[in-house]
Each structure stands twice: as C-alpha cells, then as structure tokens.
C-alpha cells in the first residue's frame, strides 16, 4: 500500500542545483547581470595586464585634464593621470569594498534580525531599537562618525591581506551602516518563519535554539538574504562613493568613489571635464545594476510565489 505509483528519479542536491541554475539562467536579467559582473571581475583581476601599473602623480604621463583622445581613451584627470588606467585599477578596490562590506552587513544583519525575530520579547525590543537608531541615522553620516573609531580599533600602518588598512575601515564602516536594512527584512521573515510548524517540530525533536536558527531558519532565509544582498551591494558602492566624496578615501588606492570625489573637488563639473566624472560614475552604475539584476533573478528563482504554480 505504500508503493508509489510513479517512479521518482532519486535526485539529490546536484540535481536541485542544476535545476536551480537552469531556472536562474533563464532570466534575461540574470544573463546581462552576470556577463557585466564577469567583465568587471576580470578587469579587477588583471588590471596591470590591461592598462599597465597604477598611475599616481609621480608616474602620470599625460597633460592635465585632456579630453579623450587616441592616446588617452578616457582622457586624463587633473593630475595628468590616464582616466582609463585609474578606472580599471579602481575596479578591484571598489569591488572588494562592495563585496566584503556586503558580507559584513549580511552577517551582522542576519544575526541580529534572526535573533530579534526568533527570541522576540525584550531581546527583540532592544535589538530593534538599536536597528532603528542605525536606520534613523543617514548611513554615511554615521559612517563619518564611526570612521575614526574604527581606525582607532583597527590600528594603522601595515597591510592587511595586501590591502591598506584604510580600505578595511571603509569596509567595516559600510558594513556597520548597512546592516540595519538587512536586519529588518530578516527579522520580519523570521517572524513568519518561526510560526511555521516545522520549527515547532524541530523543538519537539529536541533541537536547541541555536540549532533551530542555524539548521532551520537560516536555509529558509537564504533567498531573502541573497536577493537583498544585491541591494546592499548597490548601497555599499553608494556609501563608499559618498565617503570618498567627503574625502575619506585612500588617495593611493583610488576606488571609483575616490575618483569621483577627486574629480568633484578638482572642479571637473564646472570646468566641463565630463570624462573625469562620467567614467567612474558609469562603472558604479553598471556594477550596482548588474547586482540588482542578479538579485532580482535570484529572488524570482527562489521565491515560489514568483514561480508559476508547479
């Protein structure tokens, strides 16, 4: 009586992943986003091969603020550096910042949101008040406030993982300031998930709270976290740009944000040097957009409500 009429092929996780990829890649947005992102990742991986070593004031070759020409495809900046060179080298920093900061904010936001949502009560009230506070503070004002503190904690000089410490300051700052958004979403999702019966079942099965959170809640939060992660990436690039705009970038390792801010400080806008502003800006735009596209596709793929009823 227990024999199933229809033979199921014993598909495991590999099959599930294949199916997921097929669906995911079926979205046009995902394709565009992935191609675009791959392009920037390649650029970030081998900037030296593409445009030679990073130019600084000391080895700049061009004249000041030359419009795009055959020699300088994207023109030069106010110090005479080749903008193409800067933009290509900036890719690594900007992508590193965006990705690491996103990881930090996702980890922080998920932990806090999940804890608040799962335990509820006083923990929820206080954690959410904290979250609200970070929400009320415009993120990069908070970043300005936190930066020196983080700098104090992280120490100065030396290199961490081959990158200068001030980069990590920015990364930490962005991570710290963008988690509130994630925490909110994760919490609301957790609130509904924890009412699901399988959590009760896990409790009856004798699982501890930690194990319930890690083994039951987290996997079900992944689509949400993944999809919102894309928005956080866009946010991280944005905050990084704003921080640089306020002069807190590392002048020796220019990110796209630093380039924008330098262009702005040099008066590129009023001097009509559109190439200085345009090139890094378009890069920022393309990377955030590709993350958003990928995130949307992820959301569509994971979210059963977006899928047609099976």
């Amino acid at each position: 009586m227990s024999e199933s009429t229809v033979r199921y092929s014993p598909r495991g996780r590999a099959g599930a992943i294949k199916g997921f990829l097929r669906r995911f890649l079926g979205y046009g947005g995902a394709q565009v986003g992935l191609v675009c992102l791959m392009f920037f990742l390649i650029v970030a991986a081998v900037p030296g091969i593409l445009v030679g070593p990073l130019q600084t004031a000391i080895n700049a070759t061009g004249d000041f603020l030359v419009p795009p020409s055959s020699q300088h495809l994207l023109g030069t900046d106010e110090v005479g550096r080749d903008v193409l060179n800067l933009v290509v080298h900036g890719a690594r920093i900007s992508l590193t910042i965006a990705l690491l900061a996103t990881v930090i904010s996702l980890v922080l936001g998920t932990t806090i949101g999940m804890t608040a949502g799962y335990y509820g009560g006083r923990a929820d009230v206080w954690l959410m008040r904290l979250t609200d506070f970070f929400f009320v503070m415009p993120s990069f004002v908070l970043a300005l406030v936190i930066t020196p503190v983080v700098l104090e904690v992280m120490g100065r000089g030396g290199e961490i993982l081959g990158l200068r410490p001030s980069l990590f300051v920015i990364i930490v700052v962005i991570g710290m300031t963008s988690w509130a958004f994630v925490a909110r979403i994760v919490r609301s999702q957790t609130l509904s998930l924890k009412e699901r019966t399988f959590i009760d079942r896990a409790r009856i099965a004798g699982s501890s709270n930690l194990s319930i959170m890690v083994r039951h809640l987290l996997p079900n939060l992944v689509p949400q976290i993944g999809a919102n992660g894309a928005l956080v990436v866009a946010g991280a690039i944005y905050v990084e740009t704003s921080l640089s705009f306020l002069g807190l970038g590392d002048p020796l390792q220019p990110s796209w944000g630093t380039l924008l801010s330098l262009a702005q400080r040099a008066g590129a806008a009023s001097a009509g040097a559109w190439w200085c502003l345009g090139a890094p800006g378009v890069c920022v735009l393309m990377v955030s957009l590709s993350f958003v596209l990928i995130g949307n596709a992820l959301d569509d793929t994971f979210n059963p409500r977006r899928r047609v009823i099976p």
Partner: protein
C-alpha cells in the same frame, strides 16, 4: 482615553530620549575637539590658554558624566536645544528653523514628484507585469535607484548648467540684488529644477519597485479572481479592488520617507550649494558642533517617530485588518 494617549506619547518621548542619549554619546566618541576646531580658522597663532578658554566658554571643560549629560538632558526636556558652538551661541532651534524651509521645499517637492510618478509607474507596471511599460519603467527606475544621487546631480549640472546654460546649477536665488517678488519667485523655481530633479529621479526607483511588487502580489490574490468573476472591467478591477490594496506597503514607505524630509539630502545639497539641513549637518559635524548635531538628530528622530505614528494611523485607515 487620555491615559492611553498619554502612554503613547510617553513611549514616543522615551524613544526620542534614547535617540538623544545615543546621539550624545555617539558624537562625543568621535575624535575631534570642538574648541580646537573653533579656533582652526584663526589667522593668528592660538595659545593653549585660548583653547582652554574656548572649552570653558562652551562648557566642554566639565566632566562628561554626570555634568554635561545631565545638563543636556534637562535642557532638552525643557525644550531647550542649546546653543551652537560653531555659530557662536546662536540658538540651535534658530539655526535649524532657518535651514528647514529650504530643505523641506527641496526634499518635499522631490518626494512628491517621486511618489506621484513612482507610484503611477509602479502600479501600472505591476498590473501589466512583463509588459513593455513594466520593462522600461522597472529597468529605468532600477538604473536610477542604483545611481549615486550626487553623481546624477553633477551630471545634470554638467549638462544643463555648465553645458547648455539653461538652468542655474547652484543656490536658491541668483546672486545679487533686489528684484521684484514675482521675478524672485520665478528665479527660485528655476533654481529648484535641477536639485529637485536629481533627488526625485533617485527616489522614483524605490517607489516603482515597491508599488510594482505590491501590485503584482495583489493581482494574484484570490479576490481579484472574484472581481473578475463578477464581470468587472479591467479598469473597474484596477480602481475598485487592486489600487487600494496595493497602496498599503507604498503608504508605509511614503510616510517613513516623509519622516526623512527634514533630514535633507546631504550630497545633493552639497552639489547644488543648497542651504538646507543636510549642509548644516555636514558643517556641524566638521566643527563637532554637538548641540547642533543633537538638535538635528532629535528633530529627525521626532519626525520619524511621528511618521511612524502616521503610518500606523494611515495603515489602519486603509487596511481594516491591521492590528497594532
């Protein structure tokens, strides 16, 4: 009745107090001595005695705890926001009130435009999910959403101000002199165009995304099938059944964003030399002008608490199911 209201107000005040205390602590963690910054612009050499005098002048020589905290809290409770360091004893309330109108006009107008366009596009895109309008509106608003707003602002300036010379790219009035009040108003409007556009374009995306998501959710609801079964036309379905339901999350977003109207838009204000709260925040931060910072964030906190309350009420009006 009054006891309940009292309790709600009390709780709101409690939240504000928390914000106030956190602000107090936070801004003082930041390295930077206001006294030193106050003297930074001096063109004669500054002595240690002068620095100490400055500290004494602004009460910074006293212990942080309990003196300064207690003073600050009791003053705040009495509705006294204190006096600015940077602006040499100008009442914080004055400073904020002076900047507030510019910010409210700028951000408020931008929000209104963004809400109007964003919600319309979003609702329509969600209603016809996958259609041409959806693809274009969603794609464009995503692009705008991810664009750093100050960059957008600078691009607008390069094109329309320095490039084409059509519109002024900075300030709220043309520099200079007395002109008739109608001209002055027109001048003001001309100055508003670019900053409002820059801000609104960045905000539209958010509304499109939320409204579209809400709408495409509503479209799949069972009561829409009921409406169809009742023989309603598409227009009737959209207007009578879908719109109000789809507005629920949008209204929350709107009210919460309206809470931020008083915060100004720091980067856009900076690009357009717009004398608003955003600029004041940056100036105060650069000078470690604690009272002003505290004042601004208290205002922000208050308006967000208020916005939350309005959101609750609005939500309750729109959605009878909502329980708080």
């Amino acid at each position: 009745m009054s006891r309940r209201i009292f309790r709600i107000v009390f709780r709101a005040l409690g939240t504000l107090l928390t914000v106030a205390i956190l602000n107090f602590i936070l801004f003082r963690i930041v390295p930077g001595d206001p006294a030193q910054l106050l003297l930074a612009g001096a063109r004669t050499s500054v002595t240690v005695q002068q620095m100490d005098a400055q500290r004494a002048r602004w009460g910074l020589d006293r212990p942080l705890f309990p003196d300064q905290v207690v003073d600050y809290l009791s003053a705040t409770l009495h509705g006294d926001l204190g006096y600015s360091f940077k602006f040499r004893g100008r009442p914080v309330a004055d400073l904020i009130l002076e900047r507030l109108p510019a910010t409210i006009v700028l951000v408020g107008l931008a929000q209104m435009i963004a809400i109007l366009c964003g919600v319309l596009f979003g609702i329509y895109a969600g209603w016809r999910r996958g259609g041409a309008v959806d693809r274009i509106a969603t794609g464009a608003s995503m692009a705008l959403y991810t664009m750093p707003s100050f960059w957008l602002a600078m691009v607008l300036v390069v094109i329309f101000s320095t490039g084409l010379g059509w519109l002024p790219g900075y300030g709220i009035y043309s520099p200079g002199a007395n002109i008739g009040s109608t001209d002055r108003f027109l001048d003001y409007l001309r100055h508003l165009v670019l900053p409002v556009t820059a801000l609104a374009l960045g905000l539209i995306g958010q509304y499109v995304v939320v409204a579209r998501a809400a709408m495409s959710e509503v479209v799949t609801e069972d009561y829409m099938v009921t409406a169809r079964a009742k023989g309603l036309t598409n227009g009737q379905m959209l207007m009578r059944h879908a719109f109000r339901n789809a507005m629920l999350p949008v209204v929350t977003l709107i009210t919460l964003n309206l809470g931020y109207v008083v915060a100004g838009a720091i980067t856009v204000e900076a690009v357009f030399a717009w004398p608003g709260i955003g600029g004041l925040t940056v100036e105060a931060l650069n000078a470690r002008d604690y009272p002003v910072l505290q004042g601004i964030f208290l205002l922000l906190g208050a308006s967000i608490v208020l916005a939350n309350l309005i959101a609750d009420l609005a939500y309750g009006l729109l959605d009878p199911r909502v329980r708080q």
